[in-house]
Amino acid sequence: MTNLLLEWLIKTIIILLILLTAVAYVTLMERKVMAWIQLRVGPNRVGLGKFRLWGLMQPLADALKMIFKEDIVPIQANYWLYIAAPALSLIPALMTFIVIPYGSTITLFNRTIELHVTRMNVGLLYVLALTSVGVYGIVLAGWSSNNKYSLMGGLRSSAQMISYELALGLSIVCVLLYAGTLDLVDIVNAQNGFHGLAWNVFRYPLLIPVFIIFYIASLAETNRTPFDLPEADSELVAGYHTEYSSMKFVMFQMAEYLNLITASSISTTLFFGGWNGPFVGRAPYLGPVYFMIKVLGLIFLAMWIRYTVPRFRYDQLMRFGWKFLLPAAIVNIIISSTVLLFRP
């Protein structure tokens, strides 16, 4: 038992360390991608001492700056809620990563180690549950700041999140029709055929529109452009995180990027075969590499969309979520189940 506990502890800590570094460098990636799309060069000066290092130390510099910024708590704000809200946003964002499989099994120090922290037979519902709980951080941040813009931004942002959560859940149901299990490890293992290229989007082409619905819904869930009206600077004065400064603001930004990484990870697990790829049977260490490449590709796609497409107005956004995505997901479920019924 203590062996098991130690194994979980080590895996969790390794994953958290990788994740925190990943979040920092995804912010740098965002700025670089934004820059190159806008025909300029992003941050490329912050290095180590004399060496420029292509700006790779920028996230460290940003983090240090943010730690030393003044921490203002506005008067009349609900003090404990104000402090707890960013934590409430960050914690569910971190907790998703224990059910995602990063590889098959490797042998290290005479033990076979499976490359997922834990294996739940309701893994996908656990992820959905954490997405549902993530709404509270935003709505409580908006309320407790005692600022009209924060409250409006918080309410609008959470109304947007819950509307797109429906489309997200229903597109997951469509994948479940083909997968037959809620366990993410089983879903990825089932995509292992044909030299590691039997991904769900290739085996079941009806899942391609489902992937598009899932991806758009997850962009709206994580409040990224084109769905970021509630936190856009020119619209609602930064919405629910107007009154936050220093590290609490950093926690909100971390939570946002973590949600983006989560959405991309779940997309690759469900649709693109997780850690599967050519030759992964012979070299199990290739599993995490393929996984990382696919997740980075989807994150790049999100950033590409962000810097290409203009922002939705709020009523257009809600109309799109309820009147287009939700019926589209329902129609997809009906078509997929009918196809499965008559041609298993």
């Binding site: 037979n121 309701v122 519902l125 709404v135 509270y136 709505v139 309320w143 409250l151 309410l155 819950i162």
Partner: protein, 166 residues
Amino acid sequence: MQAEKALFIVFAVIAVASALNILLQRNPLYSALSLIGTLLALSALYVMLRGQFIAALQIVVYAGAIMVLFVFVIMLLNQPKDQPQIEKQKGLRYLAIPLAGLMIAEMFYVLRPIHLSTLPADQSVGTTWSIGTALFTDYLLPFEVTSVLILMAVVGAMVLARREGD
């Protein structure tokens, strides 16, 4: 075995303490948050009873949808400050206290020591396959009636909330 007992005590204490906190808070938002805490502790207890599917559903539906509705309503109504509610009808307490005592006595009677088997449920009871097949074979009628109930709730809520113009 000891670890399971210790975990049970921890989650049970959290659940009961959060439930008491609902009553003791003045601010309705804090009460709603305590209810969310109770639901999370209950979900952990369900996991310990081999009901993983129900545990996840409890968080998705109850803590993630119903409580969001509660929190929205509390924020939309915006009660000014935390007004302490003064007892409006003092005579009712002579009815309320004996009835509460009766309910507590009833609870003690129902929960008197009975011979419970302390084994947790079989491995296959809480899984999605067994719940799914049971839902569509044995419990089909409640399932279809639920759809009609949900339709009723949708129509009712929309009618009630739009009555003030629009």
